[in-house]
């Protein structure tokens, strides 16, 4: 578009007022107006057939790819290559990327293509234009990784790392960091294999030192490569995990903690539950104090209340001395069971049953009522319907029991679920059920006595 606007400015004299740009001062942009202005300048002609047939070709390729018709896609691709010679410079510059993306897809899946074809294609596309080299190299390396050719992938990445042509834009920086990081990841993989070897060797073994040294060298390289990337805001789970593993192995706990804390708490990074999980696991390994663990998990609770770590969280809260923690513990349990994926989680139900009983015994009826108020409209149908009663009992009697207990406590002994379970005859659970009945009678929140 830029050279076009220059042409507009060209023959205009200073006296005339000509609108050379369709962007007004207020920052409004009218793309449709641009096309009209363009057509006026070329005498109102429709666009060339070349442009029309190439865009038709593109949609045919896309359709063929969607339908997995690789043969046809290759046929159309044959004709699409001519966009590399498009007289429209804007389209000509955009062509290599499109061709790479579509061509690599076709070559990936086409039955007649193989590694060599792909490699030749990738090498050719890399050399068209300066802008695409890094991206294509990276994708090429990933393709090789996918096929298990680790050495080739590493070689590719090393070549790409030293590419310094073209403009020094921020996107290029990120690409280079990515490339380095992937290289680092590959090195990590070698490191971890060697570590495995090392663990099998005896300390007295003569090869031990050599291997240990080798391992250390690898780790150093890896850390150099990965550390640059993880400073940039983004989601870098595999990189962070491997990096932290290495740091921990060499005893750099502070470094590891710093990396993880940064990753989880730095506001510039996108919100990522995994970050908190990694941090939590690390702290657990380091046997951090309970309060710290609780603070970490609290954030995770806010992001993903249905995570299975929530049960651990609940255990931590339960054991805490602070009352607010214990209240939160109840919240967390209810929160977990709000989600359909956890309805059959027997641990959750077990905890809830036990905890409810304790809380009600401890005279914290208000807590229970607060949690139950927002749920009493839909939990009965969601968890405690007659249908669930039958199917739960059929599937897992223990689960059914726990649920029944909760149902009884929350809905009273008249609720369908509870009554159904009560009616069931069971050798082992029979006694338990009887005990349940008594507790429900005593503690249920719908009990008119309380």
């Amino acid at each position: 578009m830029s050279d076009f606007s220059e042409e507009l400015k060209g023959p205009v004299t200073d006296d005339e007022e000509v609108e050379t740009s369709v962007r007004s001062g207020a920052g409004m942009h009218f793309p449709w107006l641009q096309t009209y202005v363009e057509t006026v300048a070329i005498g109102g002609k429709r666009k060339k057939d070349f442009a029309q047939t190439t865009s038709a070709c593109l949609s045919f390729i896309q359709e063929a790819l969607l339908k997995h018709q690789w043969q046809q896609a290759a046929e159309y691709m044959y004709s699409y290559f001519q966009t590399l010679e498009d007289s429209d410079s804007y389209k000509r510059q955009a062509a290599p990327e499109i061709i790479w993306k579509l061509g690599s897809e076709i070559l990936f899946y086409h039955p007649k293509s193989n590694m060599e074809t792909f490699n030749t294609f990738a090498d050719r596309m890399k050399n068209i234009g300066v802008m695409n080299y890094l991206k294509i190299s990276l994708q090429h390396a990933l393709y090789l990784l996918h096929h298990g050719m680790l050495k080739d992938a590493k070689r590719n990445l090393s070549e790409a790392e030293t590419w310094r042509h073209g403009e020094n834009t921020s996107s290029r920086e990120i690409l280079i960091n990515l490339i380095q990081a992937y290289k680092g990841l590959l090195q990590y993989y070698t490191w971890s294999k060697k570590k495995m070897e090392l663990s099998k060797l005896d300390k007295d073994d003569y090869a031990y030192n050599a291997v240990a040294q080798d391992v250390f060298n690898h780790s150093w390289k890896t850390s150099a490569n990965i550390s640059a990337l993880i400073k940039i805001p983004g989601v870098w789970d595999p990189f962070v995990k491997s990096y932290v593993e290495m740091l921990e192995f060499y005893g750099d706990r502070d470094g590891a903690q710093e990396v993880l804390t940064n990753y989880a708490y730095d506001e510039k990074f996108p919100s990522n539950p995994n970050a908190h999980i990694y941090l939590y696991n690390f702290l657990k390994r380091q046997k951090a104090p309970r309060s710290k663990l609780i603070s970490v998990l609290k954030i995770l609770y806010q992001i993903v209340p249905s995570h299975k770590l929530m049960l651990e969280f609940h255990t931590l809260l339960r054991k805490s001395e602070k009352e607010e923690h214990r209240k939160l513990g109840l919240e967390v349990l209810f929160g977990v069971l709000d989600f359909a994926g956890c309805t059959k989680n027997i641990t959750a139900w077990k905890y809830l049953a036990k905890y409810l009983k304790n809380i009600l015994m401890g005279n914290h009826l208000a807590w229970v009522q607060e949690e139950w108020n927002s749920r009493k409209n839909w939990w009965p149908g969601f968890h405690f319907s007659y249908f669930w009663a039958k199917s739960d009992w059929k599937e897992d009697t223990a689960l059914a029991c726990e649920k029944a207990f909760v149902a009884g406590l929350l809905l009273g002994k008249g609720c369908r679920y509870f009554r159904y379970i009560l009616k069931q005859d069971h050798q082992i659970l029979g006694k338990k059920i009887k005990r349940m009945k008594r507790s429900v009678k005593k503690y249920s929140i719908v009990n008119p006595r309380l």
Binding site: A51, T53, Y78, G103, F121
Partner: protein
């Protein structure tokens, strides 16, 4: 020193204003009076280009290379002559008479005789843009500065000697040669010969690559280098449009002051009677409809010699759209027979179907519904294939066009890259799937009686849609609706517009079918149908209209 040839150069010497030239050893002109040597070389001014064979010899005579890399010095009009030559060859291969070539040369000679004089004044400043409407359809995007035409600069910007200047020339009254106009030329020659190729056929052959048009410059001799502004002139990236070429034909004919063309009489291929028969066969309609089309032709006066023959000088309405007119007549006849209001034609089909079931031995009655089903299927298939072939069309030639010498290696490298990539992908493509080059044919659809899969309707009878009344036959349909109520009288070139949703689906289908056949826009066909109706129902337009009118058909 060839004084004889130097006599061709008629320019006045800049120093002594005499007109007396000789040729130096290098082939440059020098004034015999004052020995002022010009930069002009010999090849420019010879205009005697009568036989085509001499073009080749002439171009070989252009041996005065300024430097080996640049190749020959050549002018844009020579390039066009080359293209015309190639097109004439191609037409000859298609079966057109060999007189065509001579005709083309005569045309090209007579018309552009004025050109060299204009060209010879290279040292003059270029023609300023007078604000006149541009006669050319060249679109040059390259933002080269508008240079004063000095020899060295023009040679940088274009391979031809006058590429830059040529593309800037925008004088009123001058018709510049462009690649689409070469087709106009071809058509004029065909018309003069009254060959059996209509304009739509010609354009279809161009699209199917039987006639050089896109990348015609590929076959220029090696030494004629094209770059810079030549791209805009010779590097066409669109197929010719019917209306566009039609207008240009008229324009060129008028510009050249051509006399009245040979008469188009009833036995000529281009006469509507014959063309209607051809199209009826192609669209699988019964032969009996032909008598109706002849009748309509007679009633509207469209079969008159004066109406049909092209006469550029006379200010008469210039109607050389023979194919569109023939098809329009067929549409009108279909409307007369079937009304095409999404209702009547189907009830007629019901009747025909019932009759055909009962009387299997007789000649079957034409069943519109059956015809529609078969035609729709065939049409959809053909259209799909056509669209796919168009999407796969390769525009770029082996001879890449580039901006300047600096770009040349880049352009060639790109070309090489593309060829390599194509080679790589061609191994993935199943070789049996690629169809061989189809031989050109005038018919796009073929129907035969023997084909049991697809019914051939040629022999079917129209009895189902006609009824007897005394000596003559009447159509069962007594209604008619006009495609256009009012014609536009303003200065735009169109007399009516076509808004699809206003018309019945059957009508839309018929229009789509025929427009695809001729590769024209449906609005163009609709316009022609309206014009035919205007002639047919003249009284209707001049008097307040009545809705229903019975149409009498005389049986011959």
């Amino acid at each position: 020193m060839d004084l004889e040839e130097a006599e061709e150069f008629k320019e006045r010497c800049t120093q002594c204003a005499a007109v007396s030239w000789g040729l130096t050893d290098e082939g440059k002109y020098y004034c015999t009076n004052c020995h002022n040597v010009t930069e002009r070389s010999q090849e420019v001014t010879s205009t005697d280009l009568i036989p085509n064979t001499q073009i080749k010899a002439l171009n070989r005579g252009l041996k005065k290379k300024s430097n080996t890399e640049k190749g020959w010095d050549w002018y844009v009009c020579e390039g066009f002559q080359y293209i015309l030559y190639q097109q004439a060859e191609a037409l000859k291969n298609l079966g057109v008479g060999p007189e065509l070539k001579v005709l083309e040369d005569n045309l090209s000679q007579s018309d552009w005789a004025s050109e060299p004089e204009l060209l010879s004044d290279v040292s003059c400043p270029p023609f300023l843009e007078s604000g006149a409407e541009s006669q050319s359809d060249i679109h040059t995007r390259k933002p080269f500065p508008i240079s004063k035409a000095s020899q060295s600069e023009t040679s940088v910007c274009s391979g031809s000697l006058d590429g830059v200047e040529y593309s800037q020339r925008k004088e009123k009254g001058i018709v510049k040669m462009t690649v689409p106009r070469t087709l106009a030329f071809c058509y004029l020659s065909l018309l003069w010969q009254r060959e059996a190729i209509t304009l739509s056929d010609l354009l279809r052959f161009v699209e199917e690559n039987h006639i050089p048009y896109i990348n015609a410059f590929q076959h220029f001799p090696e030494q004629m280098k094209l770059y810079g502004r030549d791209r805009g002139i010779f590097g066409i990236e669109s197929w010719p449009d019917y209306e566009d070429i039609y207008k240009k034909t008229i324009e060129v004919g008028t510009f050249l002051d051509l006399p009245r063309f040979p008469d188009i009489t009833e036995d000529c291929y281009l006469h509507p009677n014959i063309l209607c028969m051809k199209y009826l066969m192609e669209v699988n309609l019964p032969d009996e409809m032909h008598s109706l089309t002849c009748h309509v032709v007679k009633m509207t006066g469209m079969g008159e010699v004066d109406f049909l023959t092209f006469d550029p000088i006379a200010k008469m309405a210039k109607t050389v759209k023979y194919d569109v007119q023939a098809v329009a007549i067929i549409v009108v006849v279909l409307k007369l027979l079937f009304l095409l209001d999404d209702n009547f034609e189907w009830s007629l089909s019901n009747l025909a179907e019932k009759h055909n079931e009962k009387n299997k031995k007789d000649k079957p009655w034409f069943d519109f519904r059956k015809w529609y089903q078969i035609m729709k299927k065939a049409f959809d298939e053909k259209k799909q294939k056509w669209e796919e072939a168009r999407a796969k069309y390769l525009w770029k030639s082996e001879k890449p066009l580039y901006y300047s010498f600096i770009d040349k290696p880049v352009a060639y490298k790109k070309r090489e890259m593309v060829v390599n990539l194509q080679k790589q992908f061609s191994t993935l493509v199943d070789s049996t799937a690629t169809a061989g080059k189809k031989s050109p044919s005038s018919f796009q659809f073929n129907w035969t009686e023997e084909d049991t899969d697809r019914t051939c309707f040629h022999g079917h009878s129209l009895q189902g849609v006609l009824k007897e009344k005394g000596q003559s036959l009447l159509t069962k349909n007594s209604l008619y609706w006009l495609s256009t109520q009012k014609f536009c009288r303003c200065y735009c070139t169109h007399v009516t517009t076509y808004e699809e949703s206003n018309y019945s689906l059957s009508y839309q289908f018929i229009l789509n079918l025929f427009s695809f056949l001729l590769r024209i826009k449906t609005s163009l066909l609709h316009e022609e149908v309206s014009l035919v109706e205007k002639k047919l129902f003249e009284k209707k337009y001049s008097v307040t209209r009545k809705k229903s009118r019975s149409k009498k058909v005389r049986r011959h």
